[in-house]
Subunit: 350 residues, 2 copies
């Protein structure tokens, strides 16, 4: 749709030409003011007055009606306060903004009802596409995705045959990186503090932890495994329960919020970290550098997943005929002070 078309009249309503003529300025000047991209104070005043007098309908609405494009992308995440979503959101916002579109952020609270209602509301076409990062994938999600009237990219694990663009990480492999790192440093009584097993990340991380120990020939002591939820307070109390019944020499935690809770449970109980108990978190959020000792963490590269999801969505909007794409971002381990350095020695802090 060319620029000329946008300035033509839609069913007889006043256009930028009408406004420019009334204001006594050039069409280019009127257009700049009406598009909010500049003009001298005097030109802005004249053009706005003329637009009000002739009843000019703003561009965005007329353009939506003509092109059925809204210039908006929605992002739905469970919790806009979770640091892993913050990193993802910032990366998505950068791609969306550089394409000249605007990002609309929704918080779903992880409620399946909210997520499927959001997918149904896409029928209003208030956005050109949606990036959805659900914490669980249900049959309702899959049905709503299959029916979606606008493109959706899902960040997370989808069944293999779902015909939807998908960006995922391999959190099983991520947990294995943490376990390998701790075993290389001589730790053997490795515990695991997880989130709920009925979530996609909880289930994947549990499976990854068990598989990694098995690969090293270690029989898992179930007393070293605890489950809470993916928050600080639950991570701290889950670790207190674990420490009350067992004596780990290392802990892997299913995200950084849990890991900060675990760190504080360990320190309050008088354990040195990493001397007595080494600790590795997951997601490599900003929090990992804001605790003492700073915390090793497995990066699942939320920012990179967000960046790729936004690019896939923009490509899909431009070319709906593309085949569904699935991209996996590989995890990597960031070693800080809460676990032994690669040579096996633990740094100590005061």
């Amino acid at each position: 749709m060319g620029r000329k078309r946008l300035q033509d009249s839609v069913d007889g309503r006043p256009t930028v030409h009408t406004v420019a003529a009334r204001a006594g300025v050039s069409i280019a000047s009127a257009s700049r003011v009406l598009n909010g991209v500049g003009g001298s104070p005097e030109t802005i005043r004249k053009v706005r007055a003329a637009a009000a007098e002739v009843g000019y309908v703003p561009n965005a609405i007329a353009r939506s009606l003509q092109s059925q494009r809204t210039g908006q992308i929605a992002l739905a995440v469970e919790d806009i306060g979770n640091p892993v979503y913050v990193a993802m959101m910032r990366a998505i916002e950068a791609v969306v903004a550089s394409s000249g579109r605007q990002l609309l952020v929704h918080a779903t609270g992880g409620q399946i009802d909210n997520e499927t209602a959001l997918l149904r509301r896409l029928a209003h076409r208030y956005v050109d596409g949606l990036i959805l990062s659900p914490i669980r994938i249900t049959e309702e999600h899959l049905a709503a995705l299959a029916d979606s009237p606008v493109p959706v990219v899902v960040i997370g694990q989808l069944p293999a045959d779902t015909p939807v663009d998908n960006v995922r990480t391999d959190s099983r492999a991520g947990v294995a990186l943490a376990v390998d790192h701790l075993i290389a440093a001589g730790r053997r009584r490795i515990g695991f503090v997880n989130g709920p097993l009925d979530t996609v990340p909880g289930a994947a991380r549990d499976a990854g932890f068990r598989a990694a120990l098995a690969r090293h020939g270690i029989d898992l002591d179930e007393r070293l495994v605890e489950v809470g939820d993916f928050q600080y307070a639950a991570g701290r109390t889950a670790t207190e329960r674990l420490l009350a019944r067992s004596r780990p020499d290392a802990l892997v935690c299913a995200n950084d919020l849990i890991a900060v809770g675990a760190l504080h449970a360990l320190l309050v109980a008088g354990h040195r970290v990493p001397g007595d108990v080494a600790l590795v978190g997951m997601d490599d959020t900003e929090l990992a550098s804001m605790v003492l000792p700073s915390m090793s963490s497995v990066s699942l590269d939320a920012a990179e997943r967000g960046r790729i999801a936004a690019q896939l969505l923009l490509e899909r909007i431009n070319d709906p005929s593309l085949p569904p794409r699935r991209i996996t971002v590989a995890p990597h381990l960031v070693v800080r002070d809460s676990s032994p350095t690669p040579d096996g020695r633990a740094k100590q802090w005061a």
Copy 2:
């Protein structure tokens, strides 16, 4: 604008009546499906097929054209990752969602150009109103606010005569609460780690700190004052500079990110908190409970400011003739383990 009007034809385009007749369902059923609020799978299938056949234009676009309402509210903050904005954003999202509207979140990076460009883009009327929380207020902001084509509520300090709805806190009084608390506990060498003095919060907090000490008859030792920015790393290095030249018995920090940096600088330097140095942060974010020892902090009630700002904006959208309103949310102190309890005794931790 009544429900009936929304279902009438706009310049001859198919309406919900046309779709319902084609699908062989009731108008109520067709409306529910087209509005994305329910229906049996079979009804949904029939209505969607009928809508596609007759070329039904989605409601949101037609409604925008008729009412000039978009059903969207924008929020612009410096940094969507800052915990104080996260609390504000969640509160705003709750009010906006309960009004049936959607929230569009913009990150401005604190750039004046981004903020004023955003104000100019409101000429597109892609939202019904904007909540703006600028870190600095410039002449450009004031000019853009005066010209804004849609209602704007500003969270922050505005000059007294600005004809704009405004929600503010009193951060000078907030700093005074921290100083009073520390003096009541017998501390006298109270330091202050601030953000940039050319920001509105930085200037207000500096003035509040100096005024509070003066009120207690204490001469400020300038070696006890440091300035960085409002982030963790800067707070930590600013505190290291301060500790290299002076010996405080308490520190007030201009936000919680600075305060967590200060806490770690103190602990790494071997100071007990609060035994040797008491610490009070500001903003009372979730971080304050996620450090060890947990951190006392002055709450400027970002969530309450967000909630009020959203309510003011909805009222303004419904009644543009309201006089400009200015609401101040009073600060309060939350005492945790990093400062002496009200009886003056410091809790100790391991």
